[in-house]
């Protein structure tokens, strides 16, 4: 026998709404959803895109130091975000603006981080949305530890809908290569933890195509660690919602971890500092434009649900308002004062650091005196 040479077939991805906006059924993932609910998802998608676009514009105008756009990944994020219950906890990377939106984190707070007025600055436990984590993969382990806590708190498998808690850990195709993500798989499996790993495979890690990380679909990884993995159409908000719901439900009920690979595409640059024309072909982008996650929902709503134009106009107006608000609020974000660097280093400020702070305060006040 040879050990090599068995090539698994390219997997199907779960899809409930085609790029053309046709609702299809999946035998394993039926989704009961009303047109009103789909309209609400449309609103999420449209507002997230508008917010994201506004942030990119703010960066171009020098109001932000950097922006990592989620353009093209709105469905993957909103689908997952809307599958969460209040008590669930999400651990994002630095690109989950769509999930932040679903968790009611103020977009302006997010902007503050990219503007450089803070390093994060929201309270993870307020909206059950962890701080952005920039070090690739580190948050996967945080999610696992949080899930250990959930289990210990007895908040798994009780059957009480408001009590049973799941944890949703985000990471990218690139980050899947980090040791931390794989250790997280091990911890999750060994502890049968209520955590859903949600990998947005957007095909790129800056300039590296996903083929640099793996020669098999990423969702396969899970089986090797002893838990289920599944690939979904990450540009189909209904598939993302449906499968996330099942996985989160199973986590809450004590059935352990799942890996969801949301197959999607980074439509923009990696960040505003990046120039993707150096490493990828525009044809690829064109192909993916036909799979736009928002267009297909709009097509469905127009063609199959008969939603009229003023609904869309209303959303557009709301988006415009949002953009105006966050633009103004972003510009108004105050810079932190120089002495703020000593705040929150510790709960208990050591004398030595207090002394350093005091020395710096004196130094600064000497300038004031000198009219600097």
């Amino acid at each position: 026998m040879t050990l090599h040479g068995h090539v698994p077939p390219e997997p199907d991805l779960v899809q409930l709404l085609t790029p053309e906006g046709t609702r299809v059924q999946h035998p394993d993932f039926p989704l009961e959803i009303t047109d009103e609910e789909i309209k609400s998802l449309y609103r999420d998608l449209a507002l997230v895109r508008r917010f994201d676009g506004e942030a990119t514009a703010l960066q171009r105008q020098g109001e932000l130091g950097l922006w990592a756009s989620c353009l093209g990944q709105e469905a993957a994020q909103v689908g997952a975000g809307r599958a969460l219950r209040t008590q669930d906890m999400a651990f994002p990377t630095y690109r989950e603006h769509g999930v932040a939106w679903c968790r009611d984190v103020d977009p302006v707070t997010l902007l503050g981080m990219f503007r450089g007025v803070s390093l994060g600055g929201w309270n993870p436990n307020e909206n059950n949305f962890n701080l952005y984590t920039i070090v690739l993969g580190a948050q996967a382990l945080h999610a696992v530890g949080y899930a250990m806590g959930v289990t210990r708190d007895g908040a798994v498998g009780t059957g009480e809908p408001d009590r049973d808690t799941a944890v949703l850990a985000f990471f990218g195709d690139g980050a899947s290569s980090q040791g931390d993500v794989n250790e997280a798989f091990i911890w999750a499996a060994a502890g049968n933890l209520p955590v859903v790993f949600y990998c947005q495979n957007n095909q790129w890690a800056i300039s590296e195509p996903v083929e640099r990380q793996s020669r098999v679909p990423l969702f396969h990884r899970a089986a090797g660690f002893g838990f289920p993995g599944i690939r979904i159409d990450g540009n189909d908000v209904l598939a993302c919602l449906a499968v996330s719901r099942v996985a989160l439900d199973e986590a809450r009920s004590g059935q352990g971890p799942t890996l969801i690979e949301a197959y999607t595409y980074r439509m923009g640059a990696h960040t505003t500092s990046d120039d993707p024309t150096r490493y990828r072909l525009s044809e690829e982008l064109e192909t993916w434009k036909h799979r736009d996650p928002i267009e297909r929902v709009r097509a469905y709503l127009v063609r199959q649900a008969g939603v009229a134009q003023d609904f869309f106009d209303g959303i557009d107006a709301e988006a415009e308002e949002l953009a105006v608000r966050i633009r103004a609020a972003c510009r108004a974000l105050p810079d932190p004062g120089p002495l703020s660097v000593f705040d929150n280093v510790f709960v208990d400020l050591p004398d030595e650091l207090a002394e350093q702070r005091e020395g710096y305060r004196e130094y600064l006040s000497a300038f004031e005196g000198a009219g600097h």
Binding site: E126, G145, D343, F346
Partner: protein, 329 residues
């Protein structure tokens, strides 16, 4: 009032863990082999039996996983006490410690606390193979956002570990493994610790020169001070206890009196704790110093094979040699 108990450093650490597990339901102990085995040094002996497998947790074998999951537990409101099996195995967790544990409180503008204790048996002199005898404390003391302490006797072992676990800031707790079996008396029933966690302590008053040591080197420094009395020299010995923050005041105070300072540690001299202490003392006690601050430490080489470790490690003679040199100025 109950009698002070006579315990080893190891026993005192075990008692401190037991106390916190008993009194704070949010405290968890985790690491490799901390359960049934009670840890390779038996510091967690009996704890899993008494507090259960979900409070004393045998983790899978990854240091990054241990510390990373402790971060998540802390976000959920827990107070994890993590054991790193040996000094040389903390590095796979370095990223989680330096970029996450040390910074999340700051990143969250104070909304999230990281009351994580990372216990690390450290130092040499036990005849071990590679990676089992290192002194990596300076890496952590250089890292803003971490507190770093070490104990040298059973009483400090007990109280400082309790204080570390109770600290709302992350504490890297270095345990002097070659002193695990040193005995000493300790009063576990006192209402509070004899000293604040981040204070140094003069463990032997003296007037001719000051020796600053910590962890395993305190006993060696005290031996040196005793030996020096034969030459009519009266050395003051300070147990630094806290490596970050450093109780500079206690050290400077002493140097102002003695005029001379020798810093001793096992870690390589270059950029070891001695560097920082020398830099601070020459800055704060410039006119008091009658000689340069001298450092006695490991050489700037990897920790050597055990058959030569006794030569590599600072000992009484090397300390006295430095004392001679400082007094010769």
């Amino acid at each position: 009032m109950p009698e002070p108990t006579n315990l080893t450093v190891a026993g005192a650490l075990n008692a401190a863990l037991r106390h916190r597990l008993e009194h704070d339901p949010k405290v968890l102990v985790m690491g490799m082999d901390v359960g049934k085995l009670g840890g390779v040094f038996r510091i967690t002996d009996g704890l899993q039996k008494d507090f259960g497998e979900d409070r004393v947790i045998d983790s899978p074998l990854g240091e990054s996983g241990i510390i990373g999951s402790a971060v998540g537990l802390a976000i959920r409101g827990y107070r994890p006490v993590c054991e790193i099996q040996f000094d040389g195995f903390v590095y796979p967790a370095f990223d989680q410690i330096v970029s996450q544990v040390a910074k999340i409180h700051n990143r969250s503008l104070g909304a999230v606390r990281m009351p994580i204790t990372i216990r690390i048996p450290y130092g040499g002199g036990i005849g071990a193979v590679e990676h089992h005898s290192e002194s990596p404390e300076a890496y952590f003391a250089h890292t803003a956002g971490l507190k770093v302490v070490t104990c040298s006797n059973p009483s400090d072992a007990y109280w400082m570990l309790r204080q570390a676990i109770d600290s709302d800031d992350p504490v890297v707790f270095f345990e002097p493994k070659r002193r695990y079996w040193s005995k000493g008396s300790l009063d576990t029933s006192a209402a509070q610790a004899p000293l604040p966690l981040h204070s140094a302590q003069v463990v032997r008053p003296g007037s001719d020169a000051t020796i600053v040591a910590y962890g395993p080197m305190v006993a060696t420094a005290l031996q040196a001070a005793k030996a020096a009395t034969e030459d009519g020299r009266d050395l003051e010995v300070i147990d630094l206890r806290s490596l970050s923050p450093i109780d500079t005041a206690t050290v400077v105070d002493s140097v102002v009196r003695t005029g001379r300072l020798v810093v001793v540690h096992e870690a390589s001299v270059t950029l070891g704790m001695g560097a920082e202490i020398a830099a601070r003392v020459q800055e704060k006690a410039f006119y008091s110093l009658e000689a340069p601050v001298l450092r006695v430490g490991g050489f700037d080489t990897p920790y050597p094979p055990s058959r030569v470790e006794e030569e590599w490690l600072p000992d009484v003679d090397r300390i006295l040699d430095a004392v001679d040199r400082t007094l010769a100025y």
